[in-house]
C-alpha cells in the first residue's frame, strides 16, 4: 500500500494495536502452523462427556501418561459441538490450527476434500500398528472410498433400541420388538395415560439424517448413487423417510411434542418413563447420569423388516463414532503420530472407551470383557454385522443438514396434524436435493 496517508493510518493502527494487545492480555494462537515444536502438541477434543470439564477431567490423566512416556506436552482444548465446525473451518482456511483433533466420523470425507488432513496410507498406518488392528466398519467411515483414510477411528458407537423393561413387563410384552410392525404394535400398547411408546428427537438434524439413512437402506435405497450424485427422491428413500415420520404422525406412538426435541429430551423422556422406547447411540452413560438403574432398561438391535439384522436391507444402524485426524500443517507431525498411536493403543482404548461408554474400534481392545455388558454387546454386534457407513461423499455435511431440516419440517407438519403423504415427503426431499450444490 504505497500511499503515505495509508501508511500513516497503518502506523496509527499498528501502534493502537500494540497498545490494545498489551492491555488485552491475549494469548497466542492455538498451535503453530509451520513452526516446529517438537515438545508440544495441541489437541482439540470434542465434547463426549457430561460437560467440558468432565472431558478435561477424563482426558488430562491420559495426556499426562503420554507426556511421561514421550516427553511431549499436550495442550488440550475441549470444544463444544456448536463451535467445532467453525473452528475447523477457520483452521483449515488459515493453516493455523491444532496438531491433532477429533472429528465426527461422518465429516471425514468432507474434511478430506479440503486437503488439510494427513492421509493415512499404509505406511502411516504402520506407525500406529497397521490397519488390521481396526474394526472394518469403523474404517469404512474414515474417508471417501478409493482414497486412503483421512482419519483414524477413535471411539465407535452404534444405534440400539433402548427400552424400559418395567413398562414392557407391565404392558405384558415379553420381548423387545424385532420388526417395525412389532414395534408399532408394542408402541400402541404402551401409549396410554400420558405415556408414549417411543421417543423421537425430531428437531435434531443429525439424528434425523442418521435414521433416514437406515430406513432408506431397509427399503433398498441410498441417498447417493455410486458416482456420488444425490438420489433423495428415489422411491425407496421416500418410503423410508415416510416410515420414520409416520411413527409420530400416523402411528402416533411418539408424542407430538417430540417434533421440537433437539437437546436430548428424548433420552430424558426414556429415563423418566414418559416414553418406553428410544432409538439412540450408546445411551447407557446418559441413562446412568440421569439416575436410571441399569436393571430397568435393556437394549435390543434396532428393528429391521425381516427381524434379523444383517447387511443390505437388514442394516439397522449407521456406523457412528469419533475419528482422530492430524492436520497437515502441524509443526510436530512425529509427535502427532505418536499421540494417535497412544490414543489408539489397546490400553488407552480400553480406558477411554469404558469411561465414555463407547466401543473401541480397535479389535483387541473391543474383545476385553469390560465391553461385554448387555448394552455394549448388542452394539458391538451391530457394528460388526449390521452397520453401514453414512455416504462418504464430500457433500456429506450438506446432506445431513438439508435432509435433517426437511425431516424436521415434516415432523412439524405431522405434529400439527397436517397429513404427511408420499408426495409431500418426496417434495420436501426434492427441495433438499436441489439445494445440494455442486
Amino acid at each position: 500500500m504505497p500511499s503515505s496517508r495509508t501508511t500513516a493510518i497503518a502506523a496509527v493502527a499498528v501502534s493502537l494495536l500494540g497498545l490494545v494487545t498489551a492491555c488485552g492480555g491475549g494469548s497466542s494462537t492455538t498451535g503453530g502452523g509451520g513452526n516446529s515444536h517438537a515438545k508440544t502438541l495441541t489437541y482439540w477434543a470434542t465434547n463426549q462427556g457430561t460437560s467440558l470439564d468432565d472431558d478435561k477431567a477424563k482426558l488430562t490423566p491420559e495426556l499426562q501418561k503420554f507426556e511421561q512416556q514421550t516427553g511431549i506436552h499436550v495442550k488440550l482444548e475441549v470444544i463444544p459441538w456448536d463451535s467445532i465446525l467453525n473452528r475447523i473451518m477457520a483452521a483449515t482456511s488459515s493453516g493455523q490450527g491444532p496438531d491433532v483433533l477429533n472429528i465426527g466420523n461422518t465429516w471425514s470425507a468432507s474434511l478430506q476434500a479440503t486437503g488439510a488432513l494427513v492421509q493415512w496410507d499404509d505406511a502411516t498406518f504402520a506407525k500406529i500398528g497397521g490397519k488390521s488392528r481396526f474394526v472394518d466398519s469403523a474404517l469404512g467411515s474414515t474417508g471417501a472410498p478409493g482414497k486412503p483414510p483421512a482419519a483414524v477411528p477413535l471411539y465407535s458407537m452404534a444405534y440400539g433400541l433402548y427400552y424400559n423393561k418395567k413398562e414392557f413387563a407391565a404392558a405384558g410384552i415379553s420381548q423387545p420388538p424385532a420388526t417395525w410392525d412389532e414395534l408399532i404394535a408394542d408402541g400402541k400398547k404402551l401409549t396410554k395415560n400420558g405415556q408414549y411408546g417411543l421417543a423421537i428427537e425430531g428437531a435434531n438434524n443429525s439424528e434425523n439424517a442418521h435414521h433416514a439413512f437406515t430406513f432408506a437402506k431397509q427399503h433398498g435405497g441410498d441417498f447417493f448413487d455410486a458416482q456420488g450424485n444425490p438420489t433423495f427422491t428415489s422411491d425407496a428413500v421416500v418410503a423410508g423417510v415416510k416410515q420414520y415420520i409416520d411413527l409420530l404422525g400416523t402411528n402416533k406412538i411418539a408424542a407430538a411434542g417430540n417434533a421440537e426435541y433437539a437437546q436430548n429430551q428424548s433420552v430424558a423422556d426414556l429415563a423418566s418413563g414418559k416414553a418406553a422406547m428410544l432409538l439412540w447411540q450408546a445411551a447407557g452413560g446418559q441413562l446412568k447420569t440421569r439416575g436410571k438403574n441399569p436393571a430397568d432398561w435393556g437394549v435390543a438391535p434396532v428393528p429391521v423388516q425381516s427381524g434379523t439384522p444383517g447387511q443390505g436391507t437388514n442394516v439397522d444402524t449407521m456406523v457412528a463414532g469419533i475419528n482422530m485426524a492430524v492436520f497437515k500443517n502441524s509443526g510436530n507431525l512425529d509427535g502427532a503420530y505418536k499421540f494417535v498411536k497412544f490414543m489408539t493403543s489397546d490400553a488407552e482404548q480400553k480406558t477411554l472407551c469404558s469411561e465414555y461408554g463407547s466401543i473401541p474400534p480397535v479389535k483387541a481392545a473391543a474383545a476385553d470383557p469390560v465391553f461385554n455388558t448387555p448394552e455394549l454387546t448388542v452394539l458391538k454386534n451391530a457394528l460388526a454385522t449390521s452397520a453401514a457407513p453414512l455416504p462418504q461423499v464430500a457433500k456429506e455435511s450438506q446432506f445431513e443438514d438439508l435432509v435433517g431440516a426437511a425431516m424436521k419440517q415434516l415432523f412439524a407438519d405431522a405434529a400439527a396434524g397436517k397429513p404427511v403423504t408420499l408426495e409431500s415427503v418426496k417434495a420436501k426431499l426434492q427441495a433438499a436435493q436441489q439445494q445440494m450444490q455442486g
Partner: protein, 333 residues
C-alpha cells in the same frame, strides 16, 4: 401557540454560517486564527483506521470471494480458488430454482419480521420513556427492570424464551392452555407460530434500547417549551404530539435505522431459538446465509448472498435517509 425560539435546536441547523465554497476547506465556523487544516483529518484518523482494518478491507476480500468458487476444496488457499464470475450471484437470484427461491422466501420473512419487531420495539420504548418522564414512586426500580432484558446476555434471554416456549413444559403453553384456556397446546418453536416467537424475543431484547435512546433524547427538550405550551392551554396529549415527537425526530431517525439494521442482521436470536435449521416460517436471512455457506462449506455462495443483502440494506438506508432528512443543507450521511 407562541413558542420561545428554542435555544438548542434538536437538529443540525446552521443558522447563517457554514456555507462551503469549493476550495475553502475551513468555513467561518471556526475562527481563522486556528489554522489547523489537518485537524479534522487527524481527528478522523483513528476511526478511519479501524474501519479500514476491520470493516472495509475484509469486506472487499469478502466481495472478491463472492466471485470465486470457494468451497471446501479450495478453502485452504482461497486466493487460488477458481473464478466463478457471476455464477454465485446468478444462483442466488434465480428465484425459480430452489436456492434462489429459498433465499427470496427468507428475505421476505426477514423483512416482515424486521418491520414488526422494530415497530413494536420503538413503540414500547417511546411509550415507556414518555410515560416515565415524570417522577413517581418506584420509577427507578421500574427503569432498572426495563433495562434488564437488554443487559442480559443474548444466549440467556433467547434460551429462557426457548424454555418458556416449549410445547410440553413451557410457561407460555402452561398459561395459555392449562390456566387461561384460551388456546390449544401449540408449538412455538416449530410450525406457524415460530414467527411470533422470534418477534416476541426480538422485541423483548431490543425495546429497552429504544427506551434508553428516547429517554436520553427527551432530556434534550427544553422545559420552557412545555411550560410555554401549557400556559397556552395545551394538554399532555397535545404536548406529546406537538412538542415531544417532533423534538425526538433526530433521535428517532437514528434509532429506527439502527434498530432496523440490528434486527435485520440478527443472527444470535434465531440461531439460539431454533438451532441450525430454522422453521420455514421463521427462516431469518442471517441464519439462512450461515446455513448456506458456513455449514455447507460454500463460502462463495454465502459471500454472494451477503453482498446482495448488503446492497439491499445500503439501498434501504439511502432511501430512508433521503426521505427523513428534510431541509438539511449538509446531509450528514
Amino acid at each position: 401557540m407562541t413558542l420561545a425560539t428554542p435555544r438548542r435546536a434538536p437538529g443540525p441547523e446552521h443558522p447563517g454560517s457554514g456555507r462551503t465554497r469549493p476550495g475553502n476547506r475551513i468555513t467561518r465556523r471556526i475562527p481563522d486564527r486556528v489554522r489547523r487544516r489537518g485537524l479534522p483529518y487527524l481527528l478522523l484518523l483513528p476511526a478511519l483506521g479501524f474501519e479500514l482494518l476491520i470493516h472495509l478491507i475484509p469486506m472487499l476480500v469478502g466481495l472478491v470471494m463472492s466471485f470465486k468458487e470457494l468451497t471446501q476444496f479450495y478453502i485452504r488457499n482461497w486466493r487460488t480458488a477458481p473464478w466463478h464470475g457471476m455464477a454465485n450471484y446468478r444462483v442466488a437470484v434465480d428465484f425459480n430454482a430452489p436456492i434462489g427461491h429459498a433465499l427470496l422466501h427468507s428475505f421476505l420473512v426477514t423483512c416482515s419480521f424486521t418491520l414488526l419487531a422494530v415497530g413494536l420495539s420503538w413503540l414500547f420504548g417511546t411509550a415507556a420513556a414518555i410515560l416515565m418522564q415524570d417522577t413517581f414512586r418506584g420509577r427507578g426500580l421500574l427503569r432498572a427492570l426495563f433495562l434488564t432484558p437488554y443487559a442480559l446476555p443474548v444466549y440467556a434471554s433467547a434460551i429462557t424464551w426457548a424454555f418458556m416456549f416449549q410445547h410440553d413444559n413451557g410457561l407460555v403453553n402452561h398459561v395459555l392452555h392449562d390456566q387461561m384456556h384460551v388456546a390449544g397446546q401449540s408449538f412455538w418453536l416449530i410450525g406457524d407460530n415460530s414467527f411470533i416467537a422470534v418477534v416476541v424475543v426480538s422485541v423483548w431484547r431490543n425495546w429497552p434500547f429504544a427506551f434508553l435512546c428516547v429517554m436520553a433524547g427527551l432530556q434534550n427538550i427544553p422545559r420552557e417549551l412545555y411550560e410555554a405550551s401549557s400556559i397556552d392551554g395545551a394538554g399532555i396529549w397535545q404536548q406529546i404530539r406537538r412538542i415531544t415527537m417532533p423534538s425526538l425526530r433526530p433521535v428517532n431517525q437514528v434509532l429506527i435505522l439502527v434498530l432496523f439494521l440490528w434486527t435485520f442482521n440478527d443472527f444470535s436470536v434465531p440461531y439460539i431459538l431454533f438451532g441450525r435449521s430454522a422453521p420455514q416460517q421463521a427462516d431469518l436471512i442471517a441464519v439462512h446465509i450461515y446455513q448456506s455457506s458456513f455449514v455447507t462449506w460454500n463460502f462463495g455462495t454465502g459471500s454472494a448472498m451477503s453482498v446482495l443483502m448488503l446492497l439491499f440494506l445500503l439501498a434501504v438506508t439511502a432511501v430512508y435517509l433521503l426521505v427523513t432528512t428534510p431541509r438539511r443543507r449538509h446531509a450528514r450521511a
